[in-house]
């Protein structure tokens, strides 16, 4: 027997039959080993059409649930009827089936996992960048900015973000890690900042305005680097910025163990700094 499955993003969904019996259990035991080796991180047993489950099936589910935990993956059950819940609870195996109310709740487990298994957000590393950004925009560009809450992001989950029209990128290099820092602005936000710097009112990005983005990033990096090297013994090296621009450019932070997003708010709108680090590539 070959079990039918559906893929929904990071989830592999297994629709269950009306009667979940021994033959189903044997097929599940065989196929689940293959599923565990796939990129899927969430396995969903869909009880929508199920009315009865034989206890001979329990072992395959319990073993699979245990193996999922070892791999930091999740097994959940959806649409489980109350009669089945009661039966499984009485037999002491309900926890392995992990019944949830909705797919949204199930996907929420992935969010928890990502923050749990991702490297900790090291405030020693990011606070100097936050402070340097606020100070640089205030002093050099007469633009007050308010930092938002930093968060970790996987590179492939950048999703919908404000379009970036101009970005400065500096490579980070030290004996402890490599990476990059990107200062990314939507067009109208940076035009306003540039206008504040020079008392001008530009309406589109020019080479001169691109240069300004590079200089602002240069100052932010220099300021943060001084703090990190002096206070925390890091050995970040000097670097020159590269400017990227163009309508809705897509910034890719390659490699990288993690991507730290530092959002900021100004009167003209939001911008952000993306700090990408790869500790496995110290140079």
């Amino acid at each position: 027997m070959k079990l039918t499955t559906n893929i929904d993003g990071p989830a592999l969904i297994v629709p269950l039959p009306r009667l979940i019996d021994t033959s189903w259990g044997e097929a599940f035991e065989a196929q689940s080993k293959e599923w565990l080796a796939t990129p899927s991180r969430l396995f969903v047993l869909d009880f929508e059409n199920s009315h009865e489950i034989k206890n001979q099936v329990y072992r395959a589910i319990v073993v699979f649930a245990r193996n999922c935990r070892k791999e930091e993956k999740f097994l959940v059950s959806l649409n489980m009827k109350e009669s089945i819940i009661n039966r499984l609870s009485k037999d002491g195996v309900l926890e392995s089936f992990n019944p949830l109310k909705s797919m949204v709740e199930a996907r929420g487990l992935l969010g928890e996992t990502q923050t749990r298994s991702a490297p900790k957000l090291d405030v020693r590393l990011i606070n100097p960048f936050i402070q340097a950004t606020v100070k640089t925009l205030e002093v050099q560009a007469q633009t007050p900015s308010k930092p938002g809450k930093p968060f970790l992001l996987k590179v492939e989950e950048k999703g919908d973000k404000p379009p970036v029209a101009i970005a400065g990128v500096i490579a980070l290099s030290s004996s402890e890690f490599n990476g990059s820092i990107t200062l990314a602005f939507p067009e109208k936000v940076f035009l306003k900042i540039y206008g504040n710097m020079f008392g001008e009112n530009p309406d589109h990005i020019t080479a001169e305005i691109e240069d300004a983005a590079g200089e602002i990033l240069n100052i932010i990096y220099g300021t943060a680097k001084t703090e990190l090297n002096a206070q925390f013994g890091m050995d970040l090296r000097p670097a020159l910025p590269t400017i990227l621009s163009g309508d809705k450019i897509r910034i890719r932070q390659k490699t990288m163990e993690m991507l730290i997003i530092l959002p900021f708010e100004t009167d003209a709108g939001q911008f952000q700094i993306e700090v990408a680090l790869d500790r496995s590539r110290a140079g």
């Binding site: 050099q140 020079f198 602002i216 240069n218 300021t223 002096a230």
Partner: protein
């Protein structure tokens, strides 16, 4: 304070910073400027027989020739040994400041800088010239 007719050489590879420095100097009252995008070009301007540059404000990190290297070269030439030379840079680590002082820098300004800070430093440098 320096005479407002003092010719100032502004050295920075970033056009924006040269523009910012010039704007701040204009706000103080200065109007005579030369610009260079690196230390090599700066030296060419400074060492011309007709050069009337009396003050240098330079970044540190630049391609071809850094601000520190420019400073060392300037101080090694008898003609420019005492020319006021201000380093204006995002690099403010103690070791770098020490290098600059040892090389004979007149003053050191860390970016980001406000026009008031620039004015204050110019006043201090001029006072030291006595």
């Amino acid at each position: 304070m320096f005479d407002i007719n003092t010719k100032i050489l502004i050295v920075d590879d970033m056009m924006t910073m040269r523009k910012l420095v010039m704007k701040a100097l204009k706000d103080i009252g200065f109007s005579q400027f030369s610009e260079a995008a690196d230390g090599v070009k700066a030296w060419e301007l400074l060492s011309q027989p007709s050069s009337d540059i009396k003050l240098v404000i330079s970044d540190w990190n630049m391609p071809n020739c850094t601000g520190l290297d420019l400073l060392k070269r300037v101080r090694s030439e008898h003609s420019y040994k005492t020319i006021p030379f201000i380093l204006l840079t995002a690099e403010s680590e103690i070791s770098q400041v020490a290098q600059a002082i040892q090389a004979g820098v007149s003053s050191y300004i860390t970016k980001p800088f406000s026009p008031d800070v620039l004015k204050k430093k110019l006043t201090e440098v001029h006072a030291k010239m006595g």
